[in-house]
Symmetry: C2
Subunit: 201 residues, 2 copies
Protein backbone atom coordinates (compact mmCIF):
# COMPACT_ATOMS: atom_id res chain seq x y z
CA UNK A 1 0.00 0.00 0.00
CA UNK A 2 2.92 2.28 0.71
CA UNK A 3 3.96 2.33 -2.93
CA UNK A 4 0.45 2.83 -4.31
CA UNK A 5 1.29 6.27 -5.65
CA UNK A 6 4.66 5.36 -7.15
CA UNK A 7 5.19 3.96 -10.62
CA UNK A 8 8.33 2.26 -11.89
CA UNK A 9 10.09 4.83 -14.02
CA UNK A 10 11.54 3.42 -17.21
CA UNK A 11 15.17 4.45 -17.57
CA UNK A 12 16.44 5.22 -21.03
CA UNK A 13 19.92 3.78 -20.52
CA UNK A 14 19.58 0.09 -19.67
CA UNK A 15 21.62 -2.29 -17.55
CA UNK A 16 22.84 -3.85 -20.79
CA UNK A 17 23.97 -0.45 -22.12
CA UNK A 18 25.92 0.26 -18.96
CA UNK A 19 27.47 -3.21 -18.91
CA UNK A 20 28.50 -2.85 -22.56
CA UNK A 21 30.20 0.48 -21.82
CA UNK A 22 32.19 -1.31 -19.13
CA UNK A 23 32.92 -4.42 -21.26
CA UNK A 24 31.78 -6.80 -18.55
CA UNK A 25 28.80 -8.78 -17.30
CA UNK A 26 27.59 -7.35 -13.98
CA UNK A 27 27.16 -9.71 -11.05
CA UNK A 28 27.41 -9.95 -7.28
CA UNK A 29 30.24 -11.83 -5.57
CA UNK A 30 28.79 -12.69 -2.17
CA UNK A 31 31.72 -13.54 0.10
CA UNK A 32 30.82 -15.52 3.20
CA UNK A 33 33.03 -16.96 5.92
CA UNK A 34 34.02 -16.65 9.55
CA UNK A 35 35.30 -13.45 11.13
CA UNK A 36 38.99 -13.27 10.29
CA UNK A 37 38.69 -15.77 7.43
CA UNK A 38 40.01 -13.21 4.97
CA UNK A 39 36.82 -12.19 3.14
CA UNK A 40 37.60 -8.47 2.87
CA UNK A 41 41.29 -9.04 2.20
CA UNK A 42 40.57 -11.48 -0.62
CA UNK A 43 37.73 -9.33 -1.98
CA UNK A 44 40.09 -6.35 -2.11
CA UNK A 45 42.71 -8.46 -3.87
CA UNK A 46 40.12 -9.62 -6.42
CA UNK A 47 39.07 -6.00 -7.00
CA UNK A 48 42.70 -5.02 -7.53
CA UNK A 49 43.20 -7.81 -10.11
CA UNK A 50 39.96 -6.84 -11.86
CA UNK A 51 40.96 -3.17 -11.83
CA UNK A 52 44.22 -4.09 -13.60
CA UNK A 53 42.06 -5.69 -16.28
CA UNK A 54 40.05 -2.48 -16.64
CA UNK A 55 36.97 -3.88 -14.91
CA UNK A 56 34.56 -1.69 -13.00
CA UNK A 57 33.98 -3.08 -9.55
CA UNK A 58 32.84 -2.02 -6.11
CA UNK A 59 33.11 -3.64 -2.72
CA UNK A 60 30.37 -3.30 -0.11
CA UNK A 61 32.14 -4.19 3.06
CA UNK A 62 30.36 -5.16 6.25
CA UNK A 63 32.43 -2.70 8.20
CA UNK A 64 32.14 0.33 5.96
CA UNK A 65 28.44 -0.12 5.15
CA UNK A 66 27.86 -0.30 8.89
CA UNK A 67 29.24 3.23 9.27
CA UNK A 68 26.91 4.71 6.68
CA UNK A 69 23.76 3.21 5.21
CA UNK A 70 23.28 0.68 8.00
CA UNK A 71 24.62 2.81 10.84
CA UNK A 72 21.16 2.73 12.42
CA UNK A 73 21.12 -1.08 12.68
CA UNK A 74 22.29 -3.20 15.58
CA UNK A 75 22.91 -6.94 15.78
CA UNK A 76 19.45 -8.27 16.67
CA UNK A 77 17.88 -10.91 14.41
CA UNK A 78 15.56 -8.30 12.95
CA UNK A 79 18.39 -5.85 12.29
CA UNK A 80 20.56 -8.62 10.86
CA UNK A 81 17.91 -9.42 8.28
CA UNK A 82 17.33 -5.73 7.49
CA UNK A 83 21.11 -5.40 7.10
CA UNK A 84 21.16 -8.20 4.51
CA UNK A 85 18.07 -6.82 2.77
CA UNK A 86 19.50 -3.32 2.35
CA UNK A 87 22.89 -4.58 1.22
CA UNK A 88 21.25 -6.86 -1.33
CA UNK A 89 19.10 -4.02 -2.63
CA UNK A 90 22.11 -1.74 -2.93
CA UNK A 91 24.06 -4.52 -4.66
CA UNK A 92 21.13 -4.82 -7.07
CA UNK A 93 21.40 -1.10 -7.89
CA UNK A 94 25.13 -1.49 -8.51
CA UNK A 95 24.49 -4.46 -10.82
CA UNK A 96 21.89 -2.35 -12.61
CA UNK A 97 24.61 0.30 -12.99
CA UNK A 98 26.74 -2.33 -14.77
CA UNK A 99 29.29 -3.01 -12.04
CA UNK A 100 30.74 -6.21 -10.66
CA UNK A 101 29.89 -5.71 -7.01
CA UNK A 102 31.18 -7.66 -4.03
CA UNK A 103 29.88 -7.96 -0.50
CA UNK A 104 32.08 -9.20 2.33
CA UNK A 105 30.08 -10.17 5.43
CA UNK A 106 30.18 -13.15 7.71
CA UNK A 107 26.55 -13.85 6.66
CA UNK A 108 26.47 -17.02 8.76
CA UNK A 109 22.92 -18.14 8.01
CA UNK A 110 22.00 -19.98 4.82
CA UNK A 111 18.52 -18.44 4.96
CA UNK A 112 19.99 -14.91 4.87
CA UNK A 113 22.20 -15.78 1.92
CA UNK A 114 19.21 -17.30 0.14
CA UNK A 115 17.30 -14.06 0.81
CA UNK A 116 20.06 -12.10 -0.91
CA UNK A 117 20.20 -14.48 -3.87
CA UNK A 118 16.43 -14.27 -4.28
CA UNK A 119 16.55 -10.50 -4.72
CA UNK A 120 18.74 -10.80 -7.81
CA UNK A 121 18.17 -12.15 -11.29
CA UNK A 122 19.15 -15.74 -11.96
CA UNK A 123 22.89 -16.16 -12.50
CA UNK A 124 23.81 -12.81 -10.97
CA UNK A 125 24.46 -14.11 -7.45
CA UNK A 126 27.80 -15.85 -6.98
CA UNK A 127 28.37 -17.33 -3.55
CA UNK A 128 32.05 -17.34 -2.58
CA UNK A 129 32.84 -19.40 0.49
CA UNK A 130 36.06 -18.31 2.16
CA UNK A 131 36.87 -21.49 4.02
CA UNK A 132 39.40 -20.87 6.77
CA UNK A 133 39.53 -23.14 9.85
CA UNK A 134 38.28 -21.36 12.96
CA UNK A 135 41.60 -22.08 14.73
CA UNK A 136 43.40 -19.94 12.17
CA UNK A 137 40.75 -17.21 12.30
CA UNK A 138 41.01 -17.11 16.06
CA UNK A 139 44.80 -17.04 15.90
CA UNK A 140 44.69 -14.06 13.53
CA UNK A 141 41.88 -12.30 15.39
CA UNK A 142 42.61 -9.00 13.56
CA UNK A 143 40.04 -7.02 15.54
CA UNK A 144 40.41 -8.87 18.84
CA UNK A 145 36.82 -10.07 18.53
CA UNK A 146 37.44 -13.76 19.28
CA UNK A 147 39.21 -12.76 22.46
CA UNK A 148 36.22 -10.65 23.48
CA UNK A 149 33.81 -13.44 22.55
CA UNK A 150 35.77 -16.00 24.58
CA UNK A 151 35.71 -13.57 27.51
CA UNK A 152 31.94 -13.30 27.13
CA UNK A 153 32.12 -9.61 26.23
CA UNK A 154 30.47 -10.25 22.86
CA UNK A 155 27.44 -12.52 22.69
CA UNK A 156 26.22 -14.54 19.68
CA UNK A 157 29.61 -14.54 18.03
CA UNK A 158 29.78 -16.74 14.94
CA UNK A 159 31.80 -19.89 15.54
CA UNK A 160 31.90 -19.39 19.32
CA UNK A 161 28.33 -19.25 20.60
CA UNK A 162 26.46 -18.81 17.34
CA UNK A 163 26.30 -21.15 14.34
CA UNK A 164 27.88 -20.77 10.93
CA UNK A 165 25.94 -22.61 8.22
CA UNK A 166 28.61 -23.94 5.88
CA UNK A 167 27.52 -23.21 2.29
CA UNK A 168 26.39 -26.48 0.72
CA UNK A 169 26.88 -25.57 -2.92
CA UNK A 170 28.93 -22.37 -3.16
CA UNK A 171 29.75 -21.29 -6.71
CA UNK A 172 33.35 -20.84 -5.55
CA UNK A 173 34.85 -22.68 -2.60
CA UNK A 174 38.15 -21.13 -1.53
CA UNK A 175 40.18 -23.12 1.00
CA UNK A 176 42.65 -20.56 2.20
CA UNK A 177 44.92 -22.53 4.52
CA UNK A 178 47.49 -23.65 1.95
CA UNK A 179 47.17 -20.67 -0.40
CA UNK A 180 48.37 -17.07 -0.60
CA UNK A 181 45.89 -14.20 -0.83
CA UNK A 182 46.90 -13.73 -4.46
CA UNK A 183 46.28 -17.40 -5.27
CA UNK A 184 42.81 -17.20 -3.70
CA UNK A 185 42.04 -14.01 -5.65
CA UNK A 186 43.28 -15.48 -8.92
CA UNK A 187 41.03 -18.48 -8.43
CA UNK A 188 38.01 -16.18 -8.18
CA UNK A 189 39.01 -14.10 -11.20
CA UNK A 190 39.47 -17.34 -13.17
CA UNK A 191 35.88 -18.27 -12.34
CA UNK A 192 34.66 -14.88 -13.61
CA UNK A 193 36.60 -15.32 -16.85
CA UNK A 194 35.44 -18.90 -17.30
CA UNK A 195 31.81 -17.84 -16.87
CA UNK A 196 32.17 -14.82 -19.17
CA UNK A 197 31.60 -12.13 -16.55
CA UNK A 198 34.92 -10.60 -17.59
CA UNK A 199 36.92 -11.11 -20.78
CA UNK A 200 40.00 -13.28 -20.93
CA UNK A 201 43.18 -11.27 -21.46
CA UNK B 1 27.87 2.22 20.36
CA UNK B 2 26.38 -0.01 17.71
CA UNK B 3 29.51 0.18 15.58
CA UNK B 4 31.93 -0.40 18.47
CA UNK B 5 33.12 -3.69 17.03
CA UNK B 6 33.45 -2.52 13.45
CA UNK B 7 36.52 -0.87 11.98
CA UNK B 8 36.71 1.03 8.71
CA UNK B 9 38.29 -1.28 6.23
CA UNK B 10 40.81 0.41 3.95
CA UNK B 11 40.09 -0.46 0.34
CA UNK B 12 43.04 -0.95 -1.97
CA UNK B 13 41.41 0.59 -5.03
CA UNK B 14 40.53 4.19 -4.20
CA UNK B 15 37.79 6.52 -5.32
CA UNK B 16 40.42 8.35 -7.38
CA UNK B 17 41.50 5.11 -9.09
CA UNK B 18 37.93 4.29 -10.01
CA UNK B 19 37.24 7.81 -11.24
CA UNK B 20 40.40 7.75 -13.37
CA UNK B 21 39.34 4.45 -14.96
CA UNK B 22 36.08 6.16 -15.92
CA UNK B 23 37.71 9.42 -17.06
CA UNK B 24 35.38 11.58 -15.01
CA UNK B 25 35.02 13.33 -11.69
CA UNK B 26 32.31 11.63 -9.61
CA UNK B 27 29.53 13.77 -8.15
CA UNK B 28 25.86 13.78 -7.23
CA UNK B 29 23.29 15.67 -9.28
CA UNK B 30 20.46 16.22 -6.81
CA UNK B 31 17.35 17.07 -8.84
CA UNK B 32 14.59 18.80 -6.91
CA UNK B 33 11.25 20.16 -8.07
CA UNK B 34 7.51 19.67 -7.92
CA UNK B 35 5.78 16.44 -8.87
CA UNK B 36 5.44 16.50 -12.65
CA UNK B 37 8.13 19.15 -13.06
CA UNK B 38 10.18 16.83 -15.25
CA UNK B 39 12.96 15.78 -12.84
CA UNK B 40 13.17 12.13 -13.90
CA UNK B 41 12.61 12.91 -17.56
CA UNK B 42 15.40 15.49 -17.59
CA UNK B 43 17.69 13.31 -15.44
CA UNK B 44 17.22 10.46 -17.94
CA UNK B 45 17.98 12.81 -20.81
CA UNK B 46 21.15 14.01 -19.07
CA UNK B 47 22.21 10.39 -18.47
CA UNK B 48 21.62 9.62 -22.14
CA UNK B 49 23.79 12.58 -23.21
CA UNK B 50 26.50 11.57 -20.74
CA UNK B 51 26.34 7.95 -21.93
CA UNK B 52 26.96 9.15 -25.50
CA UNK B 53 30.10 10.80 -24.16
CA UNK B 54 31.24 7.54 -22.56
CA UNK B 55 30.46 8.67 -19.02
CA UNK B 56 29.51 6.24 -16.29
CA UNK B 57 26.32 7.37 -14.60
CA UNK B 58 23.46 6.04 -12.54
CA UNK B 59 20.08 7.45 -11.65
CA UNK B 60 18.48 6.82 -8.27
CA UNK B 61 14.87 7.60 -8.93
CA UNK B 62 12.35 8.26 -6.20
CA UNK B 63 9.99 5.79 -7.75
CA UNK B 64 12.36 2.88 -8.34
CA UNK B 65 14.24 3.22 -5.04
CA UNK B 66 10.86 3.12 -3.31
CA UNK B 67 10.24 -0.35 -4.76
CA UNK B 68 13.49 -1.77 -3.41
CA UNK B 69 15.78 -0.32 -0.77
CA UNK B 70 13.15 2.00 0.69
CA UNK B 71 10.16 -0.26 0.14
CA UNK B 72 9.69 -0.44 3.91
CA UNK B 73 9.28 3.34 4.29
CA UNK B 74 6.08 5.32 4.22
CA UNK B 75 5.51 9.05 3.91
CA UNK B 76 5.65 10.18 7.55
CA UNK B 77 8.16 12.87 8.52
CA UNK B 78 10.41 10.25 10.11
CA UNK B 79 10.27 7.99 7.07
CA UNK B 80 10.81 10.94 4.74
CA UNK B 81 14.05 11.79 6.52
CA UNK B 82 15.16 8.15 6.60
CA UNK B 83 14.37 8.01 2.87
CA UNK B 84 16.68 10.97 2.21
CA UNK B 85 19.37 9.57 4.52
CA UNK B 86 19.50 6.17 2.82
CA UNK B 87 19.46 7.65 -0.67
CA UNK B 88 22.28 10.02 0.24
CA UNK B 89 24.32 7.17 1.73
CA UNK B 90 23.78 5.06 -1.39
CA UNK B 91 24.69 8.04 -3.59
CA UNK B 92 27.86 8.35 -1.53
CA UNK B 93 28.74 4.71 -2.27
CA UNK B 94 28.15 5.31 -5.98
CA UNK B 95 30.40 8.39 -5.87
CA UNK B 96 33.00 6.28 -4.10
CA UNK B 97 32.66 3.79 -6.96
CA UNK B 98 33.55 6.64 -9.35
CA UNK B 99 30.15 7.26 -10.91
CA UNK B 100 28.24 10.41 -11.65
CA UNK B 101 25.05 9.64 -9.77
CA UNK B 102 21.73 11.46 -9.97
CA UNK B 103 18.77 11.46 -7.64
CA UNK B 104 15.35 12.62 -8.77
CA UNK B 105 12.99 13.29 -5.88
CA UNK B 106 10.63 16.12 -5.07
CA UNK B 107 12.71 16.71 -1.90
CA UNK B 108 10.58 19.74 -0.97
CA UNK B 109 12.34 20.75 2.25
CA UNK B 110 15.56 22.75 2.26
CA UNK B 111 16.59 21.03 5.52
CA UNK B 112 16.39 17.59 3.87
CA UNK B 113 18.46 18.74 0.91
CA UNK B 114 21.01 20.24 3.31
CA UNK B 115 21.12 16.87 5.11
CA UNK B 116 21.99 15.15 1.83
CA UNK B 117 24.64 17.74 0.97
CA UNK B 118 26.22 17.37 4.41
CA UNK B 119 26.77 13.64 3.91
CA UNK B 120 29.01 14.25 0.90
CA UNK B 121 32.42 15.78 0.48
CA UNK B 122 32.57 19.47 -0.43
CA UNK B 123 31.93 20.10 -4.11
CA UNK B 124 30.35 16.69 -4.75
CA UNK B 125 26.75 17.78 -4.20
CA UNK B 126 25.19 19.65 -7.13
CA UNK B 127 21.68 20.92 -6.53
CA UNK B 128 19.62 21.05 -9.73
CA UNK B 129 16.37 22.93 -9.39
CA UNK B 130 13.82 21.89 -12.02
CA UNK B 131 11.66 24.98 -12.01
CA UNK B 132 8.29 24.31 -13.61
CA UNK B 133 5.22 26.38 -12.65
CA UNK B 134 2.73 24.34 -10.66
CA UNK B 135 0.00 25.11 -13.19
CA UNK B 136 1.98 23.24 -15.83
CA UNK B 137 2.80 20.36 -13.44
CA UNK B 138 -0.86 20.05 -12.56
CA UNK B 139 -1.88 20.16 -16.21
CA UNK B 140 0.56 17.34 -17.02
CA UNK B 141 -0.27 15.32 -13.88
CA UNK B 142 1.40 12.20 -15.36
CA UNK B 143 0.40 9.97 -12.45
CA UNK B 144 -2.94 11.62 -11.66
CA UNK B 145 -1.60 12.66 -8.26
CA UNK B 146 -2.65 16.33 -8.39
CA UNK B 147 -6.20 15.21 -9.17
CA UNK B 148 -6.14 12.89 -6.14
CA UNK B 149 -4.62 15.62 -3.96
CA UNK B 150 -7.29 18.14 -5.05
CA UNK B 151 -9.94 15.53 -4.24
CA UNK B 152 -8.39 15.10 -0.80
CA UNK B 153 -7.44 11.49 -1.48
CA UNK B 154 -3.73 12.27 -0.89
CA UNK B 155 -2.73 14.40 2.09
CA UNK B 156 0.40 16.56 2.45
CA UNK B 157 0.91 16.81 -1.28
CA UNK B 158 3.70 19.20 -2.24
CA UNK B 159 2.35 22.41 -3.78
CA UNK B 160 -1.24 21.68 -2.75
CA UNK B 161 -1.35 21.29 1.04
CA UNK B 162 2.35 20.97 1.79
CA UNK B 163 5.12 23.49 1.16
CA UNK B 164 7.91 23.39 -1.41
CA UNK B 165 10.98 25.32 -0.29
CA UNK B 166 12.31 26.91 -3.45
CA UNK B 167 16.11 26.37 -3.55
CA UNK B 168 17.79 29.68 -2.76
CA UNK B 169 21.14 29.03 -4.40
CA UNK B 170 20.88 25.95 -6.60
CA UNK B 171 24.05 25.14 -8.54
CA UNK B 172 21.88 24.78 -11.63
CA UNK B 173 18.51 26.49 -12.04
CA UNK B 174 16.56 25.05 -14.96
CA UNK B 175 13.43 26.95 -15.96
CA UNK B 176 11.65 24.45 -18.12
CA UNK B 177 8.65 26.38 -19.43
CA UNK B 178 10.26 27.78 -22.58
CA UNK B 179 12.70 24.95 -23.21
CA UNK B 180 12.70 21.43 -24.63
CA UNK B 181 13.83 18.45 -22.54
CA UNK B 182 16.98 18.28 -24.64
CA UNK B 183 17.76 21.97 -24.06
CA UNK B 184 17.36 21.50 -20.30
CA UNK B 185 19.59 18.42 -20.36
CA UNK B 186 22.25 20.15 -22.45
CA UNK B 187 22.34 23.01 -19.97
CA UNK B 188 23.16 20.55 -17.16
CA UNK B 189 25.81 18.72 -19.17
CA UNK B 190 27.38 22.10 -20.01
CA UNK B 191 27.66 22.80 -16.28
CA UNK B 192 29.42 19.46 -15.73
CA UNK B 193 31.87 20.18 -18.52
CA UNK B 194 32.47 23.73 -17.32
CA UNK B 195 33.26 22.48 -13.82
CA UNK B 196 35.46 19.62 -15.06
CA UNK B 197 33.28 16.75 -13.88
CA UNK B 198 33.30 15.47 -17.45
CA UNK B 199 35.70 16.25 -20.30
CA UNK B 200 34.78 18.57 -23.13
CA UNK B 201 34.40 16.77 -26.46
Amino acid sequence: MKTENTVWHEQQITKEDRAKLKHQQPCLLWYTGLSGSGKSTIANAVDALLFERGCHTYLLDGDNVRHGLNGDLGFSDEDRIENIRRISQVAKLFIDAGLIVSTAFISPFATDRALAADMLASGEFIEVYIDTPIEICEQRDPKGLYKKARAGEIKDFTGIDSAYDVPKTPAIHVKTDDKSILECAERIVAYLVQHNFVSSL
